[in-house]
């Protein structure tokens, strides 16, 4: 599906927000779902694969979605060159998103760019009259982005940085531990070790936990079986059985 670049804003030296006119995606998207993005024009076969990116924000009314991405390799470097008016070919919305748990107190935990899907989630939680706490963990203070957007939704935001240059010094798991005394529906996205740690905390505290996982993808729609994620019942597909799983469904050490 062809979409059009509205804006491609550099937020830090490595992190960009790409805003796209994509009415169909915006109409159907659920928080936690992703789009599968082609990074080159149709006449080029390299890079060959699409890139999965979470839907960072979404406005049905305006027909736009936003993606928040970090430049890590060839594909994201190409994305960073996009300019307003350029066309972007994407598939989506794809995958299983977050389940909004009613009657529970939500806490959103994002490690690094794991923050990406949580803004859209926060927006939908607010629409459902819940008021999530948002916990953000980053290496350095200069990597912290999108805080204002959460604040604009009237969410409480707490930050932990490893170098202590913003918020508490330390890991986001420390923040989470404290919050599990009152909040009991956890939505988390970030590196596996972080998710595994959060899962341990939630088991202890009796909180419900959903995690959004990453795995390299081929088709992105469930057909090729390359995006395998170990579960007690064999391998699940991150692209269609996930990317969001209930913590119990998956083996987070794998």
């Amino acid at each position: 599906m062809l979409t059009t670049v509205r804006k491609n804003t550099m937020l830090t030296d490595r992190i960009y927000r790409l805003t796209l006119s994509a009415p169909q995606v915006a109409a159907d998207a659920q928080p936690g779902q992703f789009v599968h993005v082609r990074t080159v024009p149709p006449t080029s076969w390299d890079p060959f694969l699409r890139r999965p990116l979470s839907i960072h924000d979404c406005s049905r009314e305006e027909g736009i979605i936003a993606l928040l991405y970090e430049v890590v390799g060839r594909g994201t470097t190409l994305l960073s060159r996009l300019r307003p008016g350029d066309e972007v070919d994407l598939l989506g919305p794809l995958g299983r998103g977050f389940t909004l748990v009613p009657d529970r107190r939500p806490v959103l935990v994002g490690g690094g760019l794991g923050l990406a899907p949580l803004l859209f989630l926060a927006r939908r939680l607010r629409e459902a009259r819940q008021r999530p706490v948002v916990l953000v963990g980053c290496r350095r203070g200069s990597d912290v982005v999108a805080i204002d957007d959460f604040a604009a939704l009237d969410c409480k935001v707490e930050v932990a940085t490893e170098d202590g240059s913003l918020g508490c010094k330390g890991m986001v798991t420390t923040l989470a531990e404290k919050h599990l005394e009152c909040e009991d529906a956890v939505y988390a996205c970030g590196p596996r070790p972080m998710l595994a740690a959060i899962a341990g905390l939630c088991r202890g505290a009796g909180a419900l936990l959903q995690v959004s996982l990453e795995e390299k993808m081929g088709c992105g729609i469930g057909a090729c079986l390359v995006c395998a994620c170990p579960t007690p019942k064999g391998y699940a597909r991150v692209c269609t059985d996930g990317p969001v799983f209930w913590a119990e469904e998956v083996d987070l050490r794998g």
Partner: protein, 303 residues
């Protein structure tokens, strides 16, 4: 409207564009993107006697104009395929071809026997790129004698049209093709993935847990076209050509080299609508050239 019917020995296809095994699951997922009935045929994913978990991730790594995969034949086993998957494909208008795999000659034969006579199955495609556990894990497809043995065993277990899918990881593809045909394969598929690997310079370890993977995508197209050409030149046998096809032009390249039909694999990942686009482009070509069908193009690049 151009007539795109493709006839490959005992197998007749509504058009020459199939989807390649393992890249398209059992079709279902792509059904939300395209009308599956318009495909030339669906080659479903590799089926073994018993269920297989598949390899530990990562199972894929992108390479220049292609990708390496090491799915490791994850599948629910032939019985589940018969009870769960084939019924869903029953109403489909296009032929369904089941790709079969095994670790021993006997396993191939048993899988074939269970599928024999199944009304939803138009043909079997024998994937000989699997490691032979009785030969120290050497792939069946790298040795003409082992290919002969597998094809013969399968031939003895079914009356279905038989396609042998050759491995490109050989010095002389014609020799292997000959063995397959002599043993009873009526059609040849070529090529399966090319053995490759990638190393993660960060971890200094192979990127795929399985170390090796199969290279597919546009990168391998020139190798695949060459092998189709060589086999057609030597044997004039019906061929399903594949390896990097992503456009009508690419499909024509294989057809002109000698393929009576083609299969599209990795390109589906880039564009789920690519097969219908290819069919349309072939129709346009045939009409623009004033031909009444495909057949005069098959192998037409040979002197």
């Amino acid at each position: 409207m151009a007539d795109l019917t493709a006839v490959l020995g005992p197998l007749q296809l509504p058009n020459p564009v199939l989807v390649a095994s393992g890249t398209f699951g059992y079709g279902e997922e792509y059904g939300t993107y395209i009308d599956l009935n318009r495909l030339g045929g669906i080659m479903v994913k590799g089926t073994t006697l018993h269920p297989r978990r598949g390899n530990r991730p990562p199972r894929i790594v992108e390479t220049p104009a292609g990708l390496l995969n090491s799915v490791g034949l994850q599948n629910p086993g032939v019985d589940a395929v018969i009870s769960e998957e084939l019924p869903k494909l029953k109403e489909l208008k296009c032929p369904v071809i089941v790709n079969i795999a095994g670790s021993t000659v006997d396993e191939y034969a048993q899988v074939a026997a269970r599928l024999d006579g199944h009304p939803t199955v138009a043909a079997l495609e024998i994937n000989v790129s699997c490691p032979n556990v009785n030969e120290g894990g050497m792939a069946f497809g790298t040795d003409p004698a082992m290919v002969r043995e597998v094809v013969q065993a399968v031939r003895g277990s079914t009356d279905l049209p038989l396609i042998c899918k050759l491995s490109p990881n050989v010095g002389d593809i014609v020799q292997v093709a000959e063995a397959a045909v002599e043993a009873g394969a009526q059609i040849l598929s070529l090529i399966n993935t090319v053995l490759g690997m990638s190393i993660d310079v960060g971890t200094r370890r192979p990127t795929l847990t399985n170390v090796f993977g199969g290279l597919s995508g546009p990168a391998i197209r020139p190798i695949a076209v060459r092998m189709v050409w060589e086999v057609y030149q030597a044997l004039r046998v019906p061929i399903i050509g594949m390896g990097g096809i992503a456009s009508g032009r690419d499909a024509l390249e294989f057809i002109l080299a000698g393929a009576g039909a083609v299969a599209v694999g990795s390109a589906n990942f880039t564009d789920p609508g690519v097969c219908l686009k290819i069919i349309r482009e072939l129709e346009e070509y045939i009409e623009a050239q004033g031909l009444d069908g495909l057949s005069s193009l098959v192998g037409a690049a040979h002197p």
